[in-house]
Symmetry: C2
Subunit: 188 residues, 2 copies
Amino acid sequence: MFKVDSYLTAKELLEWNISLHLQLETRSVHEHEVFLEAGQSCPYFYYVLKGLLRVYYYDLNGHEMTHWFSAEDTMITSPFSFFKNEPNILYFEALEDTELILITREQFNKIASKFKSTDERLRNLYADFAMVLSRRIMSVHTEPAEERYLKLMEEHPYLFQKAQLTHIASYLGITPQSLSRIRKNLMG
Amino acid sequence: MFKVDSYLTAKELLEWNISLHLQLETRSVHEHEVFLEAGQSCPYFYYVLKGLLRVYYYDLNGHEMTHWFSAEDTMITSPFSFFKNEPNILYFEALEDTELILITREQFNKIASKFKSTDERLRNLYADFAMVLSRRIMSVHTEPAEERYLKLMEEHPYLFQKAQLTHIASYLGITPQSLSRIRKNLMG
DNA sequence: TAGTGTTTTTATCCTAGGTTAATAGAGATC
DNA sequence: GATCTCTATTAACCTAGGATAAAAACACTA
């Protein structure tokens, strides 16, 4: 998920790790490693300390579709699995060497309690999720692929350094061939 | 937003209204009334006691796009405005005579505290939002309009009694003409 | 009943993007 | 250097759905 104001920061997490005795674990994932697969339960909320993740799934035709990217200092999980007991349908892949903080449901709840006593940041976090998701639905309903591509390039240029164009294409909901055609038109 | 398991129930709300001294207000909205417009701040989380709401916005070409429907016993708000201070871009319209419970941010927080002490339903509520939104993005990326139409009809048949086909079309991200063509093909 | 506005359908034409298949480049590995 | 693999591009053709315009079907009102 892309960066939003209400994300926890690594600094906060590490402070709370001490003050709340969370005993958070970290994990190193190397480039191209798929560290979570569909069918496996997703026991963690992940904080990306460093690196870049891609989250994808397979559609009914067996095509790999990129659902999200998750960059440095953002958080991500499989809501299907982490919060609910529904089977996870998402694959999590590192697009470069990545450092993760793993947050279990129990640790997440402790943090949530902490929030409760201080402010509404957790709620804002969820609201941000909803807004980002809403905007993406609006975007795919109202903007042609070329426009979505240009916006992505403008707002998240770092993606283009690590993610390949097939990933970008499926994130935009088009084929690599179409993306290629769009890029060619933009060159002209 | 469509019904999810974790929604509050009217019964709970009314109980808490008493036990937590919330002093919740209700509001009657008649068919076709637009009771929230873009630009206005949205001070409430709405619980639809009875009736059916449509939430829409205008895209860059000035076309009215249906973003959500909200049926009986579901909750809805403008996350842009209720949680954050971003300007609201959504219009809320009643598709039939509708009874709403209005929940202010303050009342919502009281309820949230109540949750905190008992269970994780609030968090589940947000998680459900995220799941529903995620699924809709996947759907629009991977399913042709005909399939999305059939699924909507199967999962939410009540919509077709009150919402007009132009609403359904823009919810599906297509024009009324295309929807009409799809319906004709399905008849054949 | 006619008259007016709204929703839905039909028809024609057009375009964005899909499908298939081939080509070209860029690392890797031998 | 030669070969293999993976990614990106190109081209030819096709199709879902958009744009425009008009007709038909309702629905409300007088």
